[in-house]
Amino acid sequence: MEITDKDVLKTAVIARINISEEELSKLTDNIKRIINYIRNKLDEFDERFDPEQSYFDKTDSVKTNPDKFYFKKFDPGKPDIKNNTEIEHFAATNALREDMPESHFSREDMMANAPDSEDGFFRVPKVVPWKS
């Protein structure tokens, strides 16, 4: 499915970016060209690497042992890492620490970059519509 001006406008609203009428068609063309290229490539990848066959490269003339190097099935949660201790280490841990209080930034430091502030608070336009 080709990307249309409407898709781009919808995306722009979500991304909070304004697009003028003059720039819309050129922008859509640019994005379309990139997305189409990527789609074709990823479809080609799907044809070449079969998920049910352990992403075996079907065009590769030299067959390797899939049990040794490839996942049985695509599962990013359980990488087959037992042959490589470094990777095992890399994949296995998350760097956590005790949640201890430590030095923090002062209010003044934090507010110093604020475009608009009042009494130590960020000033913004009214967020909730007020009905009397």
Partner: protein
């Protein structure tokens, strides 16, 4: 003697022996920046006063005779997407053109602790999105080997500063090749460390699962010295790896006997320029003649990596850049009707076109219409990782070109983001797999522009990269400086 021509090791030796002072060294760099920066666009901000103060402090430490780092008194440039307390950190964007961070990035703090001297903040593509340093809000950076050429990007300013003698070393950041590619275009050494060994605390996030800070230096030895300073534990980055960090200079041995080198057949492709193919072949011959075992290997998913990278990195970027809304810091549009108008106008006026394009593509990539392709891109990433894992069972390092071509003309690819990104085909896979890679100069093309060779190693094997690159530098000789 031109002090700006010294490497870190040479300068450190002269500082220690009191042949020169920290202030003399820093002044030499500041003078050169004054003369050349307007032309080359290497720095966005120059910290003249702070540099002199830090130089004086470093001198005191050297004079006191305390055991100090070889980086004490050494002048450096820091890419302008890395936080520096009290110094403008703009990400080369209008939206952060008034942002003064209240803290230092961990990598910067570690360098300060070593006594390194902050010369200034280097130019980049806006928010590190690009490969040519043409999208900076502060203007283009120029390649010192030929000023009509791009220096590469996104760490273009960092590479120009080191190549042109405007910094003894610099820090860059690499999300898809942003250290290695400009290093190759400017004839310097650039290292993208393993994901997780250099803290990302204080790095403005582009694509968090790919980003990594790394050194840009004149040679491999300097690279090891800077890596020693910035690698290691930081409780502020939950992705840091708790490994035993070695002294990286201990790997600088001129010995590559028995080193197993793989050359991926996919890297010596039709797209590769003849000049680069020639330089790479000569480098391969060098390694073979010196006792390394060079074999052909295969990374079959290589050609799909750029497409997958583009989707994943834009998706992460669109999410990361949602924080720039004109409320807590940075630029705010002046004329708005309500809060949503404030967000939209601030972002539309504050971001440059290439950043907006990537945010839009990333937002679209995360929409339900595109979710199948987002999943496919993640599968490509998994296969890329597996390809590397398989190859690293048989070889110690992978050798190939850093880029498909050497530097191109300023403006030549500015409006062709796809064509520019496809040049990164050899670099993006490394970020997808989180492994380490280094670009080292390996000759010049027929136009006299530097060519870079990329060496890739498995997670945490920076030492192997440094050893191979050092031996190559020793044997083949560098390409020299451009002035």
């Amino acid at each position: 003697m031109d002090l700006t021509r010294l490497t870190i090791r040479e300068a450190a030796k002269r500082l220690k022996n009191k042949e020169i002072s920290c202030l003399e060294l820093t002044s030499a760099y500041l003078d050169r920046i004054k003369n050349l920066n307007e032309r080359l666009g290497a720095y966005i901000t120059v910290c003249d006063k702070k540099a002199r103060e830090q130089a004086a402090l470093a001198q005191k430490r050297i004079d006191s005779g305390e055991s100090i780092s070889p980086l004490a008194g050494i002048p450096m440039g820091i890419k302008d997407n890395i936080m520096t307390k009290g110094i403008l950190t703009s990400c080369a964007s209008k939206i952060l053109s008034n942002f003064i961070p209240p803290y230092d990035a961990t990598a910067v703090k570690k360098l300060y602790d070593c006594g390194a001297v902050m010369l200034g903040k280097t130019n980049l593509d806006e928010f590190a999105m690009g490969s040519s340093t043409e999208s900076s809000w502060y203007g283009v950076a120029r390649n010192p080997w030929d000023e009509s050429m791009v220096p590469g990007g996104s760490s273009g300013g960092s590479a120009v500063a080191v190549a042109a003698g405007l910094a003894c070393f610099s820090l860059g950041t690499d999300t898809g090749g942003s250290i290695r590619q400009p290093a190759s275009f400017c004839g310097v050494v650039g290292l993208k460390p393993t994901y997780g060994i250099v803290s990302r605390y204080g790095l403005a996030a582009l694509a968090s699962s790919f980003d990594q800070i790394g050194p840009v230096t004149r040679n491999t030895e300097d690279c090891a010295l800077v890596l020693n300073a910035i690698a290691g534990h930081d409780s502020k980055d939950s992705t840091f790896r708790n490994i035993k960090y070695p002294d990286y200079t201990s790997f600088l041995k001129d010995d590559i006997k028995e080193l197993r080198i793989g050359v991926p057949k996919e890297y010596i492709s039709e797209d590769l320029c003849e000049d680069i193919k020639h330089s790479i072949n000569e480098a391969i011959e060098f390694f073979e003649e010196n006792g390394a075992n060079v074999t052909e290997v295969s990374l079959p998913a290589t050609e799909y990596a750029v497409s997958a990278y583009y989707i994943l990195s834009c998706a992460e970027a669109s999410s990361n850049l949602a924080r720039f809304d004109g409320i807590k810091y940075g630029f705010r549009a002046s004329d708005f009707d309500n809060i949503f108008d404030l967000y939209s106008k601030t972002r539309s006026e504050g971001f440059g076109q290439s950043v907006k394009n990537r945010i839009l593509i990333g937002t679209y990539a995360l929409s339900p219409e595109f979710q199948d392709y987002y999943k496919k891109a993640q599968k490509v990433r998994a296969v890329v990782c597996r390809d590397f894992r398989k190859v690293f069972n048989d070889v110690d390092i992978i050798l190939g070109p850093t880029e498909v071509c050497s530097a191109y003309r300023i403006g030549e690819k500015k409006d062709k983001p796809l064509s520019m990104s496809l040049g990164d085909i050899y670099t993006v896979s490394v970020n997808m797999a989180g492994i380490c890679a280094l670009s080292v100069p390996c000759g010049k093309d027929s136009r006299g522009l530097p060519v870079g060779m990329q060496l890739i190693a498995n997670h945490f094997n920076e030492g192997t990269l440094l050893r191979a690159a050092y031996a190559y530098e020793m044997g083949a000789g560098g390409i020299g400086l451009c002035w």
